[in-house]
């Protein structure tokens, strides 16, 4: 028996370059779906592994970025179907309030509380709103970069972002967290 010759195609360097370029935005889209950084990391890495496997099997991927984003979105939706099995009878939200035993400084407690409430309100927004907010504030992407990922034009990005901020501001105002004139 002799080893099958490696098919010509993308190699390790291509893969790592692709990871460096697009892993954050893949992560951001999954994160926006679940608001969970660890789950987003797992799903993002799974998407890249699938891309590598596809390359190894000789599959041609014309647009790796679009392929990755599509696979990551699908994996995120699949995660929804298996979330109950993974979390058992405890919804994942119930774990958000669990804190360590170490006492935290006051500032850190306040910040954690603010973030907890902000997270709760963000979770109530629609996933497209969270996507655009994550890309803008998490990755600091500009309008054209966001437009490129979401396949919309920059004007629509401005509009969607403005509306998402407005919806979030209304919710935070209702919670007494911010003051809208």
């Amino acid at each position: 028996m002799k080893p099958r010759p490696q098919p010509p195609g993308p190699q390790h360097a291509d893969f790592e370059a692709l990871y460096e370029r697009h892993s954050r935005e893949v992560w951001a889209l999954v994160y926006a779906r679940w608001m969970n950084a660890d789950v987003a990391l797992d799903i993002m890495q799974e998407a890249f592994l699938r891309l590598w496997k596809q390359w190894q099997e000789g599959g041609e991927i014309l647009n790796p970025r679009a392929w990755l984003l599509c696979v990551a979105r699908n994996l995120a939706e699949d995660f929804a179907k298996s979330a109950f099995r993974r979390n058992g009878t405890q919804p994942p939200q119930s774990m958000n309030g669990v804190r360590g035993h170490d006492p935290l400084p006051l500032e850190q407690l306040e910040r954690q509380e603010t973030f907890g409430r902000l997270r709760a309100e963000l979770e109530k927004l629609a996933p497209p709103d969270r996507e655009i907010l994550t890309l803008r504030y998490g990755l600091d992407y500009n309008a054209s970069e966001i437009a490129d990922i979401l396949e919309i034009n920059p004007t629509a990005v401005h509009m969607r972002l403005s509306r998402a901020r407005q919806r979030l501001a209304e919710r935070l105002t209702a919670q007494g967290m911010v003051n809208v004139p």
Partner: protein, 138 residues
């Protein structure tokens, strides 16, 4: 409380909501960002390809064996024809109303022998024997 009076979406000076969102999302982004190396390539072994004769040889051998069996059967059948008592399928059969035929009795005289079957649920076969009286018997 955060004041949202002016908040240019992509402006240089974001308001406090922008600041809060920015610090929240940046805290969520893993730092340092994990690296990912491509997994080692899986070397697949393939079986050496056998020649055409090696692949179809066994099938040919089976086909030849079956052919030889058939030829042998036919040859033996022609050498040893089937022996059928009482003339084979054309000979008399017990139970049928056969026409009388000429037979020799143990005493050397000629006679007609035929069979008769009585009708009914339980038919009885009767073998009739009638001596032929002719010049040779006188």
């Amino acid at each position: 409380m955060i004041d949202l009076r002016t908040s240019p979406t992509f402006g240089p000076s974001g308001d406090e909501l922008d600041g809060m969102l920015r610090s929240f999302f940046r805290a969520e982004v893993p730092d340092p960002w994990p690296t990912m190396k491509a997994p080692p390539a899986v070397v697949k072994f393939q079986k050496p390809r056998r020649s055409t004769w090696l692949r179809i040889g066994p099938r040919l051998a089976i086909a030849a064996s079956v052919g030889l069996l058939l030829v042998g059967y036919l040859a033996l059948g022609s050498i040893f024809p089937k022996h059928e008592p009482n003339g084979g399928i054309n000979g008399p059969t017990i139970g049928k109303n056969n026409p009388p035929r000429r037979v020799h009795t143990p005493g050397g005289r000629e006679a007609f022998m035929w069979e008769e079957k009585t009708p009914g649920d339980r038919p009885t076969i009767i073998i009739q024997l009638q001596e032929i009286k002719g010049p040779s018997n006188r």
